[in-house]
Symmetry: C2
Subunit: 181 residues, 2 copies
């Protein structure tokens, strides 16, 4: 287990738009628009959710910590906002929008010129209580990974029957959907 490093977290955050682009752009609809059943998300919904995070959550919370500390709790994250906001767009539009928002947010993060001692500054999560700036930034990166994890699972689900007896060897088909946050 390792300590948080801003450089290492940014290395992940900066790669996610290109990763999703390579994985998803131009795929047939079966991989993009199908989900795992009622009230679950498709790849399309997941990219929409990442966009909402860029627009309303991550950098907003960074600024609240720097400006208000623990005095002002974060606003809750609307986990269903994308279901209405993205519905008239194409996957390709969502991928472009996510890439642009992420680039802008990483530029804004860079402009803050955070120093090592800033990483221990504290804020207040509405449900989790006191958190630090480094925990928020680490969570931003791991949140990307949790949705890459979910994407691979949602896609694999579409071929659950098609793989026949091999399903016993394919771990992703045994994943129980713990990654929809």
């Amino acid at each position: 287990m390792t300590e948080f490093s801003l450089t290492e977290a940014i290395a992940v955050l900066s790669r996610t738009p290109a990763t999703l682009n390579a994985l998803l752009r131009g795929l047939p609809n079966i991989w993009v628009r199908c989900n795992e059943g009622k009230d679950t998300w498709s790849a399309f919904d997941i990219v929409g959710h990442l966009i909402v995070g860029e627009r309303t959550d991550w950098m907003t919370r960074v600024r609240i910590i720097l400006e208000n500390g623990e005095a002002r709790p974060f606003d809750p994250f609307d986990r269903l906002a994308q279901l209405k906001e993205s519905q008239d767009k194409s996957l390709e539009q969502l991928l472009d929008e996510f890439a642009r928002l992420r680039r802008d947010n990483l530029a804004a993060l860079h402009a803050l010129n955070l120093q090592h001692e800033d990483l221990t500054r504290r804020g207040r999560h509405p449900a989790l209580g006191v958190v630090t700036l480094s925990e928020l930034l680490a969570t931003w990166a791991v949140h990307d990974l949790t949705h890459v994890h979910q994407l691979s699972r949602v896609m694999a689900h579409q071929y659950r029957e098609a793989v026949g007896p091999w399903s016993v060897y394919l771990g992703v088909l045994r994943c129980e959907g713990h990654s929809d946050s």
Copy 2:
């Protein structure tokens, strides 16, 4: 749940090299060389494993089905071969090698000019018994997805402590490592 389609399977298979490239190339060592503990795989090991599959497994098995049917069981897949074969290479070399092998294998698959009726042809897996060509090809694609799933989990594991109280919301941190096949 959907039926197998060769076009749809190839859509996934052809994107995996660029996905891994976007996710991994140039990342700091913490994300590439760390694993989840004793006898588990790092991102580096996973790319090595995908290379072994391209070299020895998938297209070899396609040809065995087409040439020998059920009469000749597949050779078992050596799941640990990459641990010795990749050790002196860089991640960047592995990513290039995987991309080249996958491109060549998809060209060879295309050259077979498989018809719809070929997809039901049968072969024999050494442990699973009778399987069909479409099941093999579906498994090739889902095997890619299972390792994208594993990669995101192995990477997220490195920040298990760094995310602090947010760990309860990050599904990838609750995944129990069912995807190491």
